[in-house]
Every structure is written in structure tokens, then in C-alpha cells.
């Protein structure tokens, strides 16, 4: 009961926050007009641009939905491949010493290269199509996933491992039934951080080389001096990012049980 109340209170505060921000934004842009004409469009203008961009192909040749689908396809492709390869890599590195010794030196070096620094070489190798952009996302996601899974598994409590040993569990069974479940919260944190990295990667990739996508849309809008469309692009990215994070949190609630 008390929790519900404070939950509602939190929602109230969040709501008031948003209203205040939008009001201040409106006052600054439309009423006091602190920026030169058109450089800071008001919330009303943004909403108009958003709605018209749903049908309009100008100035970049595609409607908003096409850009969203284009970016999302790349992000999800790269993200899933990065997670599917990154999870077992991190798990086996953390659990099996020979693999750790073999892979970690290379990995520790590679992770020092910022994900965005891969963009030029990947475009040289793979061009600028889906494959290339997904590869850029992959690099970003893979590194983040491995690091988080690895440290999550490494933090498994020794005494919990002992509990399983006493009952005769094998090394692999301990991984499956003790180390993995106890690392699950870290793994999900890693998945959420990697999702952020994935979006970072796609926007950067599309700013450099693309024919569609939200990053590309922002880039063209900037060249046309369309501040309103730039902001629409930013807000769309933010909303989709928030929505995907929300989905991941739902999945987390299904899998992570019995913890705060």
C-alpha cells in the first residue's frame, strides 16, 4: 500500500517535471524568442514537424517511419549478433581458466579501441550497407556484453559455489545453476548498457555513411538548416531507446527473481 502511494507520487513528480520542461521550452522559444528565428523551434512546431514527417519525404527522400525501420533493423541485427556471441564468450572466459588466458589478452587490447574508431575500417571492408552498419553495432555491443558478463560471473560468491560442491555439482553444473543465476542482474545491466552503445553506434555510422536511417535524416536536416527536423530525429531516437530499455526491463523482471 505504502509502496503504491510513493509509486504514484513518483509518477506525479515525473509528470510535473515534463510539463515544466515543455512550458519553459515553449516560453523561451515562442514567447521570448531568445534564439534567432527557427534555431530553437517550440514544442508545438516540433509536434507539427513530427506529424508532417510521417507522410513527407522531404528533404531526405524518406518518411520518418522508413528511417525508423531502417535504423531499428540495423540496431537489432547488430545487437542480437553482439549479444549472442558476447554472452558465451564472456561466460566461458570467466569460468574456464584456459579460455581466459587464451582470449583475455587479445580482448583486453581490443576493448581499448573505442567502438566508434572501428567505423572507418569497417566501411573500407564492408561498404555502407546493412552488413557494414550492423558490424559497427556488433563491435560496440560485443565488447560491452563480454565485459559485464565476465565481471558478473567472476563475482559469484565462493560460499555459494561451495554449497553446490557439497551436493556434488560438477564445474559445469555450478556454472549453470549458481554462477549464471547469480550473475543475471549484472548480465541485464550489461544488456541495457549495450543497448545504449548500439544506438550510439548507429547514429555515428549513419552520420558518416548512409542513405536512410534516423542518423542520416538528422544529418540531411542539419545541412538544410532544419533545426525542427533535427530535434524530431533526436526525440525519436530517445523515445525508441526508452521503449527498448523498457522492454528489456520487462524481460529482466521475468528472469531475475527474488531480488530487490
Amino acid at each position: 500500500m505504502k509502496n503504491r502511494l510513493s509509486d504514484n507520487k513518483y509518477k506525479m513528480i515525473a509528470f510535473i517535471n515534463i510539463v515544466v520542461v515543455i512550458t519553459v521550452w515553449y516560453l523561451l522559444s515562442e514567447v521570448f524568442q531568445v534564439f534567432r528565428n527557427g534555431m530553437l523551434p517550440g514544442p508545438n512546431v516540433i509536434l507539427e514537424t513530427f506529424i508532417s514527417k510521417l507522410n513527407s519525404k522531404s528533404p531526405d527522400g524518406n518518411t520518418l517511419l522508413v528511417h525508423i525501420v531502417s535504423s531499428l533493423t540495423v540496431v537489432i541485427t547488430g545487437y542480437i549478433i553482439g549479444v549472442v556471441i558476447g554472452l558465451p564468450t564472456g561466460i566461458f572466459m570467466a569460468w574456464y581458466r584456459p579460455i581466459d588466458y587464451l582470449v583475455r589478452p587479445v580482448f583486453d587490447f581490443l576493448r581499448c579501441i573505442p567502438g566508434l574508431a572501428w567505423i572507418p575500417v569497417i566501411t573500407v571492408w564492408l561498404g555502407i550497407d546493412l552488413k557494414a552498419k550492423a558490424a559497427i553495432i556488433f563491435v560496440n555491443v560485443f565488447v560491452g556484453t563480454v565485459v559485464n558478463v565476465y565481471s558478473g560471473i567472476k563475482q559469484t560468491d565462493q560460499v555459494k559455489i561451495w554449497v553446490a560442491q557439497i551436493f556434488g555439482a560438477s564445474h559445469f553444473e555450478i556454472l549453470k545453476r549458481v554462477a549464471l543465476p547469480s550473475a543475471l542482474p549484472y548480465i541485464f545491466t550489461g544488456l541495457k548498457v549495450s543497448l545504449g552503445m548500439a544506438w550510439l553506434g548507429i547514429i555515428a555510422a549513419e552520420l558518416l555513411a548512409a542513405q536512410s536511417g534516423l542518423g542520416y535524416m538528422i544529418q540531411v536536416a542539419r545541412n538544410f538548416g532544419r533545426a525542427d527536423l533535427v530535434i524530431v530525429g533526436m526525440l525519436t531516437i530517445g523515445l525508441i531507446g526508452a521503449f527498448l530499455t523498457y522492454l528489456l526491463e520487462k524481460v529482466e523482471h521475468i528472469f531475475v527473481k527474488g531480488r530487490n
Binding site: 560460499v159 551436493f167 556434488g168 545453476r177 549458481v178
Partner: protein
Amino acid sequence: MSSILKINNINKIFINNNGSDKAVLQNVNFEVEENEFIVVFGPGQCGKTTLLNIIAGLEKQSSGQVFIKDKLVEKAGPDRAVVFQNIQLFPWLTALKNVEYSMKIRGFSKEEYHSEAMKYLELVGLKGFENSYPIKLSGGMKQRVGIARAYCTKPDVMLMDEPFGALDAQTRYLMQDEVLRICNTEKRTIVFITNNIEEALYLADRIVVMSDCPSTVKEVVKIDLTHPRDRTDSEFLRLRKEISAMVNRKR
């Protein structure tokens, strides 16, 4: 009577971070008879947990041997189930699943481990809490789950490391009675560690009194009081005084 557990000249020396040696256990010897309730009583930080871990096969002694049923202990196994000092339930499993876990891993069939787990949860008085996660259970209830989890594997020896150390006095008394009740329902050999002399006297058939670090067995005291014991009984108080005096630190 035959002794089921033999602790033979155990020594343990840890290497500190700065490279110096730290002797924790020194020539520890004692034997435990079948179905006996042994309490190992010693001051804090004297190496009780270390000794228990060595008996369990979780830590290596520097020298000496542990025999269970005349077999040399070399690694951990279900014949020596442990109830750890801070319980260590798996937070991601319900009470029932925590208990089932110990049997599941040993290859029992699903019906078997389910009905056994239910039986032992009932034995420790947790009927109705099968599906609660540990986070929803009180300290005493978590200890009950820990006991059920160790008990259901039918170990030759149950090793209990200050299981009630973190409980409030009221719950502690209650759990002491509970542990005696459980042990009388299904006889087991128990090695129970505590730094609380009253608890030792209330539970033990024999008390192994340990000295301060490096720890050795000062004396083994047979407690002939009948159950249920009265903590204010004159003989109880006399023993309490006598044993306390043995471990009084001369510092």
C-alpha cells in the same frame, strides 16, 4: 559405540597478504560418535569456521587428516552437509527449490526430490512458505530452509557453523529447541559451532572447548544434563562458569 568422524592432528597455517605466516589451528584432535550432538565452542576469530571447512573438505589443512567412517576426507561431498554461518540460500530460488536443489543435483527423480523437500520443509516448520523467495523470509526462517537443505541429503555428519549467530535472542532460543526437536525426529550426527556458551550447554552431548588463536582443543566436556535443559539450573550455571573460565583470554 564407534566414532563416525575423526579429526586427527589438524594444523592450519594461513599466509597473510604481507607474506607472514598465521597459525590458526594447532594439533586439533577429537572424535565424534554416531548420532552424537557435538558442539565446538571457542572464542571469536579462533578458527572455528576454518576447522569446519576443513572437515567439509572445502579448505585444505596444512597437515593432519580427517576421517569419515574411516575414509580419508579429500574433497567436499554430500555425506558432510554444511549449514553455513550466513546461510547462503540461493536468492533466485524459492524455499522449496532451494531444498530440492541439493537432491536434484544428485540425480533424484523429480517426484522423489519434490516429496522429500516438502517433507523436510514441514519438518523444519515451514509448511506454507514453499514458494517464498528468501528475501521474503525472516532470519530464523532462512536458517530453517538451510537446515532442511542440508538435512534432506541424509548426511553422515551435519556441520553447522554458528547457524543462529545472527538471530535475536528470542528467535535463537526458539531455533535451539527446533534443532533439538528435528534431531530427535530423525537422528543425525551433528557438529555444531558456536561462540555462545549458553547455546553450547543447551544443545551438546559433548562440548569441544577450543583455545584462542592458534586454536587447539583445550578440553572435551561431557554434558550429562537431561533434555529439556534449564538455563538457570545450578548444574548448568556451574558448567557455564567452569567452561567460560577455560577460554578466558589472558591478554
